[in-house]
């Protein structure tokens, strides 16, 4: 049994200790907004907030997650998250949408650290999040929109 705190709730899960947090979130806790894209930290689809910081959930074994406070796309909240999700909708960023939970969680991390990122700062911070539909152009624009919302 491993204990994990997700979206403010404690859960006990009966899996092997090496099970990545990603699969616990998806298969055991049925929070399917967090996606599997590569399993090796190469795509960012599985990004969650760990104590407020974006991390790849496919790289965190459940046995290491006991003391972490984890937030998934379903429960992101607050001014920054709201601004990001609103900006995403305003710009109609999504295409297939499969990468977008990860993109949004990563963008929340960016704007928490840097409230007015430049294009190259966005590129650097977001480059680990792949989007096969190539919505990058709009992600960049949406992050700027979100930054403006937060300023205003």
């Amino acid at each position: 049994m491993y204990q994990v705190t997700i979206n403010g709730k404690q859960h006990q899960v009966d899996v092997d200790g090496d099970t990545p947090l990603l699969w616990v979130i998806r298969d055991e806790l049925d929070l399917t907004g967090t996606k599997f894209g590569c399993g090796i930290s190469a795509c960012g689809a599985c990004t969650v907030l760990v104590d407020g910081v974006p991390e790849r959930s496919c790289q965190i074994p459940i046995e290491d997650a006991r003391d972490m406070s984890i937030t998934t796309i379903e429960a992101v909240s607050g001014k920054v998250a709201q601004a990001v999700q609103d900006a995403w909708r305003e710009k109609d960023v999504v295409q297939c949408g499969y990468c977008q939970s990860g993109q949004i969680v990563q963008a929340i991390g960016l704007l928490k650290e840097n409230s007015a990122p430049t294009d190259s700062e966005i590129d650097a911070y977001m480059s680990g999040n792949a989007c096969r539909c190539a919505t990058y152009h709009r992600i960049r624009a949406a992050i700027h929109v979100a930054a403006q919302k937060l300023e205003g």
Binding site: E28, V93, V94, C96, S101, R132, Y136, R138
Partner: protein
């Protein structure tokens, strides 16, 4: 977003008003009346209207991100005069009688950038017929002439009497009427939704809060997770396997041999993966593809020593070659490419032995999946139900003749006699190694100009692996798309094509044959312009006199990009134009070369003519997406073989385009009254050649072997 708020507010409002009478429906259209719920009435296969004013748009195509859900909903809402916020899309069930792709001869499916093109009139009619029923119902209820009733945003009004009603209020009366055979459609100048820029995508909300359901997210009772160990070479077979260690993995519930390999069943995905790793397997490669890429290339080049199947033969190519003043020859190599949709292949199936099967799938061709699954499970086609959910990309990957992963899921369900429901999951490695690639192609081009620098010869030879077995002496039309109708006015043109027989499975990859032919064609024409000492734009325009739509997109792209402006040192600009899926796209690509010689793609200006535009912003998004998808591939993607084994494992070896690679993209749409044509694919073909032509400007190097990194190009 305001639209969401208003819709929620609206629904809440009507709920508070308290709908008491409610009619349910079934797909046959019969009504069942119940008290205390909402009335839902099916007007035709595409429209259901509820008494709470929600209008359900039944979407016969799947949504892989291309925006079809929004597009088809727009068309219905337009003729129906519905309020956009009240429209709710719903995917159609597998039912080829009602929901066939009208371009696909009876099959139900999505592809070839045909969703809007084949549905445009059908969905308009569906909307107009339903609107007419509502109007007639109001006329009868109010005892006024139908012609005096107007409709706007889901409300029927009669000016003379001051009466009005929402569609929801009129649904019961309208439902009783017989649909009219022939209802006039709106004139394009009266469109209020089609072509307008302010409609938000219907899938935006669900895809930004994690609630959108993909097949990977489906969970049903008694479901186990299945991964399959497949032979690592195409045509390989399982020789022996020992599953004792796999079965000992905690969470693994079963291991079975299926025709595709060894299936491991477990209580969660991770346990299934660990179980698969613990299998001890030996393979039989006696009938497998055991060669490396270079050996395959030799086979291609040997085949090309002879003339292949003729795709186009105009004038006298041989004579033109003999009498030429200037000649050049080029050989292009295009690699195998994986589609690598963001959501790895997967599907959920519930099988009741001997009785029925139900699938949950981001299903690109429900009729094909039904056929294949019914055959594997020995069921009647109607006993196989397919629930289509959002697909995390496809780019062509999800339509295969053998229903690929859908078939595999059926095999896994069959092997355990339906004891558990099955979620079949592929990993990224399974995806990249799993075949159905854009085939490797070799193309040869012989070009000639006469003494007046007029192009006189276009001799083009194309060689690749067809998607389905085609005899060596039969032309594979897919391989030469874009060349059979070569628009350039050249007196002598000959195009031929060879089919290579291979165990490597191949498939349509976003823009299909155009993904390679546009490159050789548009780099080739640039080479000719250079030989003629002409400007690449002027040179093309001169040869496109009889092709006004190509010429128009080219001119506008050039104008918007500032073609002809002097470029700063280290900056290059390239142009290309291509018709695919009946749409015309021109692009101008700007690049810069840094002090280390690395290339950065700065900007792409894109102009498309796709006839009548339904949702301009969706068209722009598809151009951006096609450009990005094509760019990542041409820069650095390939699938290669070492003694029959795919060398790429996961994304680091098949690096997707990254945020930092993405140029600024500017899209312009040519206003048009022509019938709507494709947008999902046509944005891709011109990108690679325009980029190549731009890189030539700063490096003097013609790139003929792709990906570009294989030709020594570094990207910043």
């Amino acid at each position: 977003m305001t639209s969401t708020t208003s819709r929620r507010g609206f629904l809440k409002g009507s709920a508070a008003a308290g709908a008491t009478l409610v009619i349910g429906f079934n797909l046959a259209g019969q009504l069942t009346v119940q008290a205390g719920e909402t009335v839902v009435k099916s007007f035709n296969p595409f429209i259901k209207i509820r008494s709470d004013n929600t209008i359900i748009a039944v979407i016969k195509h799947f949504e892989m991100g291309q925006g079809t859900t929004t597009g088809l909903t727009t068309i219905l809402a337009e003729e129906l005069d519905a309020d956009w916020d009240s429209m709710v899309p719903e995917f159609a069930p597998a039912d080829r009688k009602r929901y066939a792709n009208l371009f696909w001869g009876g099959a139900q499916g999505t592809g070839g950038s045909s969703a809007i093109a084949n549905s445009f009139m059908q969905y308009r009619q569906a909307g107009a017929v339903a609107r007419d029923m509502l109007v007639r119902a109001a006329a009868a209820t109010w005892q006024v002439p139908a012609a005096d009733i107007t409709t706007l945003k889901g409300v029927l009004s009669h000016a003379g009497s001051g009466k009005s009603a929402t569609y929801g209020q009129m649904v019961g009366a309208a439902a009783k009427l017989t649909p009219a055979e022939d209802v006039p459609l709106k004139k394009p100048e009266d469109f209020t939704l089609i072509g307008k820029d302010y409609l938000p995508r219907k899938d935006s909300n669900a895809k930004t809060d994690g609630s959108a359901i993909f097949a990977m997210d489906v969970k049903i009772p008694n479901m186990v997770y299945v991964v399959v160990a497949r032979p690592p070479r195409f045509g390989g077979k399982v020789k022996s396997f020992d599953d004792s260690k796999a079965r000992a993995v905690r969470g693994v519930v079963d291991v079975q041999k299926i025709p595709r390999g060894i299936a491991v069943y477990a209580k969660n995905t991770w346990a299934a993966l660990k179980g698969r790793d613990a299998l001890i397997l030996t393979w039989d490669f006696s009938e497998a593809e055991n060669r490396s890429t270079d050996e395959m290339l030799t086979q291609y080049r040997d085949a090309m020593k002879k003339t292949g199947n003729i795709a186009l033969d105009k004038g006298d190519a041989a004579a033109a070659s003999d009498s030429a003043e200037q000649k050049t020859s080029l050989e292009f190599v295009f690699p195998f490419l994986a589609h690598a949709p963001m959501e790895p292949q997967n599907c959920v199936i519930r099988y009741v032995e001997g009785k029925s099967a139900e699938l949950w799938d981001g299903c690109q061709s429900p009729s094909m999946t039904q056929d294949v699954v019914a055959k594997i499970l020995d069921l009647k086609i109607d006993d196989v139900k397919v629930n289509t959910v959002y697909a995390g990309g496809s780019f062509g990957r999800r339509v295969t003749g053998d229903a690929d992963y859908g078939g595999e899921a059926a095999m896994a369900a069959k092997a355990i006699k339906g004891k558990y429901a099955v979620k079949l999951v592929w990993t990224r490695e399974d995806d990249l190694k799993g075949g159905f690639y854009r085939p490797m192609h070799v193309e040869k081009l012989d070009l000639a100009l006469n003494q007046d620098k007029v192009p006189t010869l276009w001799r083009h030879s194309v060689t690749g692996i067809p998607f389905f077995p085609i005899p060596a002496d039969k032309l594979d039309g897919s391989a030469v798309e874009g060349l059979q109708n070569l628009p350039y006015d050249i007196a002598n043109i000959k195009v031929d094509q060879h089919n290579i027989d291979s165990k490597v499975t191949t498939l349509w990859w976003r823009s299909v044959g155009h993904s390679h032919t546009a490159y050789s064609k548009e780099v080739g024409i640039d080479v000719m312009a250079e030989m003629a000492g002409a400007d690449p734009l002027d040179f093309r325009l001169k040869l496109l006199k009889d092709h006004p739509r190509e010429a128009a997109v080219l001119k506008l792209a050039a104008e918007k990009a500032g073609w002809g402006d002097k470029m700063a040192p280290g900056k290059g600009r390239g142009i290309a134009v291509h018709e695919s899926f009946n749409s015309f796209v021109a692009q101008v690509v700007d690049v810069s070369k840094d002090k280390d010689g690395a290339i950065k793609v700065d900007r792409v200006v894109c102009v498309i003519d796709c006839g009548i535009v339904i949702n301009p912003d969706v068209v722009r998004a598809q151009m951006e997406g096609g450009i990005g998808y094509g760019l990542g591939a041409v820069m650095r993607n390939k699938i290669s073989f070492d003694n029959g084994e795919v060398e790429q494992n996961n994304f680091p070896d098949y690096l997707p385009l990254r945020m930092s690679d993405m140029p600024v993209v500017e899209v312009h749409i040519i206003p048009s009254g022509e019938k709507p044509t494709g947008v999902g694919e046509p944005g891709l073909p011109p990108l690679a050649p325009a980029l190549s032509n731009a890189i030539f400007q700063v490096t003097g190097k013609r790139i003929t072997a792709l990906p570009m990194t294989d030709s020594g190009i570094d990207f910043a």
